[in-house]
């Protein structure tokens, strides 16, 4: 299957010399289309750094990050921003929907920024919301729907258009376990439909939805654990 995102010996250090903090120490990891990979690890193990590198929100100090064949390090800032917007969807614990826009407008917004005309962007957004089971609340404001529905809308926004890579950072944070399961079921379904999902979570029950679980500790992948959980 085609690799959507690949980290090759990606490292990220903050500061230099003696006092440098090595948040990520040469991690190699790839996620193919149709694959859900979960990253687990204690606080400070480098989970969020890894996700930020994978989505081009941060650059590695050494090593390489490739998204659908494009080497992020070789892209000019403007091209990187465009790739981030067009190819990568983000789902965070804090949902980050714009409060004054309806769910539909929120989901349509990234497409309009992509240059898609408003009518078509709305159609796509409506379809994306329907797919995640939030079609019936499309016209409501974020504050008028439940936390689970907000998170569904955030996933629709992450997937609208041609995005094949979804980066999810604790997407089940404030949700009860049943709603959390539904969110994971949704991400899983998107994977089965061909998306690549990289999920950061500290909750084992949600990591268990993944095809592979990667354990990070002190900025490196625990290889002994990786061998067992890849099945």
């Amino acid at each position: 299957m085609s690799v959507v995102v690949e980290l090759a010996e990606a490292a990220r250090a903050y500061g230099e010399g003696e006092g440098a903090v090595h948040a990520l120490k040469g991690v190699s990891l790839s996620v193919a289309a149709g694959e859900l990979v979960a990253v687990m690890g204690p606080s400070g193990s480098g989970k969020s750094t890894l996700l930020n590198l994978a989505g081009g929100l941060d650059r590695p100090t050494s090593g390489r990050v490739t998204v659908e064949g494009a080497d992020l390090g070789a892209l000019a800032p403007k091209a990187l921003a465009a790739l981030r917007r067009r190819r990568v969807g983000y789902v965070f614990q804090e949902v980050n929907l714009i409060p004054s826009l309806s769910l539909l407008e929120n989901v349509a917004l990234p497409r309009e920024l992509d240059g898609v005309r408003a009518g078509r962007a709305r159609e796509e957004a409506r379809a994306a919301l329907a797919e995640v089971g939030a079609g019936h609340v499309a016209e409501r404001l974020p504050e008028e729907v439940s936390g689970g529905q907000r998170q569904r809308a955030a996933i629709a926004r992450a997937l609208v258009g041609e995005r094949r890579l979804v980066l999810a950072d604790e997407p089940t944070g404030a949700l009860d376990t049943h709603t959390g399961d539904q969110i994971l079921g949704l991400l899983r379904a998107r994977c089965d439909a061909g998306a690549a999902v990289l999920l950061v979570t500290h909750e084992p029950r949600y990591a268990a939805w993944a095809d592979r679980v990667v354990f990070l500790r002190d900025g490196a992948v625990d290889t002994a654990a990786a061998a067992v959980s890849a099945r």
Binding site: P204, A208, A226, A227
Partner: protein, 174 residues
């Protein structure tokens, strides 16, 4: 858990014979709880001895059906009403293994924790996959959820062990 009460619950919906009971038991709890026909008949004969069920007529195929008695219904009601106390500790071996690893010279405790955590995660992945199967009944899904929550508790405890071990200098080792 008692197969006893499971069978009483099924019989409370009407008389059934052994094979029917086994099929319905497995359908509601999922393959997660294998039950063989021998266990069903042994349990039925004990229930009969205790006056909780009675045998009915044999059908054309020679199968005997069983029916719940009033005492059986009272026992079933008592079972649903009474909360369970955790009497057995199925994770004891792991707890003991960890405690022993802490005090046995030359054992890499973090490696023991990590190996267990990966194996436990693999079990959770299997359970979650089973939960995603099409046409799964709600009862079966809840049984799997129960196992997932238990496995998760073990996983959380292992996370906790790792964090404590990382922050604490090792003691009791010469």
């Amino acid at each position: 858990m008692s197969i006893r009460h499971g069978l009483l619950a099924l019989l409370s919906a009407g008389p059934r014979h052994g094979y029917q009971l086994r099929a319905e038991f497995v359908a509601s709890t999922g393959a997660s709880w294998p039950l063989n026909i021998g266990q069903v008949y042994t349990t039925l004969s004990r229930l009969e001895r205790d006056g909780l069920v009675v045998q009915g007529e044999e059908d054309a195929q020679g199968r005997v059906s069983y029916a719940i008695t009033d005492d059986g219904r009272a026992e079933l009601e008592r079972w649903f009403r009474t909360p369970l106390v955790p009497a057995d500790r199925p994770r004891d071996e792991l707890v003991i293994k960890l405690a022993m690893a802490m005090t046995t010279p030359g054992v890499d405790v973090a490696a023991v924790v990590q190996a267990q955590r990966a194996a436990t995660m693999a079990v959770m992945q299997d359970l979650t996959r089973a939960k995603r199967a099409e046409g799964i009944t709600t009862a079966h899904r809840l049984v799997l959820d129960s196992m997932i929550f238990r496995t998760e508790a073990e996983q959380r405890w292992l996370d906790h062990c790792e964090a404590v071990l990382a922050a604490t200098p090792q003691e009791g080792r010469a």
